[in-house]
Point group: C2
DNA sequence: CGGGCGATTGACGGTCATCAAGCTGTGTGG
DNA sequence: CCACACAGCTTGATGACCGTCAATCGCCCG
């Protein structure tokens, strides 16, 4: 088995052993709640590029990402794609305000998730204020990310977009695996383009430009930040 | 006093009389809860263009919009602005995952809001699952809007952006005031531009183009949808 | 009537998309 | 071991869309 992008150890069958517990929505559950919660979820694996759920499908389940990376995206009728986020271990996916999913999610590399039936999950959460508050916290956090992303999409140049993406992605990885100058990029250039509202060619050119300027070094499967300060300056500007 | 964009009657001092109750986060509160809740909030007015709260300010309060329209936006250090949304009566503003506001909000026309102290509000909500669920519902709804907006910003042409904005804005107004072909636009062209990730000139040109094509008619303070189907087609495409 | 602000229109240019080769690395089969 | 294919990425040439700069218009209000 290939090594994962993020250094999270394989999880056992039980929540108590779960490596993403602390990052996850289940963090505030106490011992007896966790045991009950455990009964609701089933761990599932997905192969690279498999779809976990798709836009317009009926929402039957929620998903807690345990291992791997997923892309979360919306499609326009004519096929244009906007990736609204990359999900990492600990992220909770699938909440919707309608009966159907508003977006699709698929595995980038091999992925394992904890899957919960929607109604069972809802019944479980219904009367648990600490869990509901936790869900809120995650939702508000995602909202903030979403708004940052709107600024990026609406108001930044290609170079700023790429730099912002790299810094943001590195920061998220650092939270999971500890700091490092090397930034693995498991997603394709096309994924990055669709995340940044650019074309694959522009992304590629911008990477090359940043490399020529000594900001990054392009290595197989990712980049290495040679001048993190310059990159951060571009991202902040 | 000028007539408001949205046909919501002036609110009294008391929640029971509140015209936006049903749209608002306080919808699920029962009679005795509402009386307690009433004590936490204070109704405040803002003049056109006044700032209700600003990015980076400490978060001391949350706001429930009662009347008027607000723009909610983020600024980059160099002054570029991205409007992340327009708020209408019933919208709840100010939640943040940090101690400071991540964005600014100001009144477009005259505005009245219900203001809640953050800690008092949090204490009140803390152990009320039905209220927490309601807050979740609102957050998930906003998240969906945010993701739709990302698609718009990242993957749509100027013409599609403007059409999508008009249709979306009309739909929101219709929910509050009932259907109508006329679409009041209380915000400036600059606001629209900053919402759509365009410049004011492009917005203006696109309005003119849509008018020439017979899709809309530009009237003082707004537009009239002459061919809603064509507009909707542009918005969906 | 004149000042001022927001909106519109025009001319021009830059950034990024499009179209089209070429490149690189990886896996496959002779 | 090398030829080959294939997919993903890079690079180049060209052009469109939209941003920039600047002038003008229209309207409100003094």
């Amino acid at each position: 088995m290939k090594t994962s992008v993020v250094a999270v150890e394989p999880t056992g069958h039980f929540c108590v052993d779960c490596s993403v517990r602390q990052f996850s929505l289940c963090a505030p559950l106490d011992k007896s709640e966790i045991r009950e919660f455990e009964q609701l979820g089933r761990q599932i694996q997905f192969a690279p590029c498999e779809t976990v759920f798709a836009q317009e499908e009926m929402t039957t389940s929620f998903y807690n990402l345990l291992e791997g990376v997923m892309r979360v995206y919306k499609l326009l009728p004519d096929g244009r794609r906007q990736i609204v986020g990359f999900a990492l271990p600990g992220d909770f996916l699938g909440m919707s305000d309608t009966a159907r999913h508003g977006f699709s999610a698929d595995a980038i590399g091999p992925v394992s998730v904890c899957r919960f039936g929607k109604s069972a999950f809802s019944r479980f959460a219904e009367d648990k204020p600490h869990l509901l508050r936790r869900i809120n916290e995650l939702a508000v956090h995602e909202l903030n990310q979403a708004r940052d992303h709107m600024v990026l999409l609406g108001r930044r140049s290609a170079e700023e977009k790429v730099a912002t993406f790299l810094i943001g992605w590195r920061d998220r990885l650092d939270q999971l695996r500890g700091a490092s100058a090397s930034v693995p990029l498991p997603m394709s250039r096309q994924d990055i383009a669709d995340y940044l509202g650019l074309t694959i060619e522009t992304v590629s050119r911008t990477f090359t430009k940043l490399e020529r300027e000594g900001v990054i070094e392009i290595i197989p499967g990712g980049v290495c930040l040679r001048d993190p300060e310059r990159a951060a300056a571009l991202a902040a500007a």
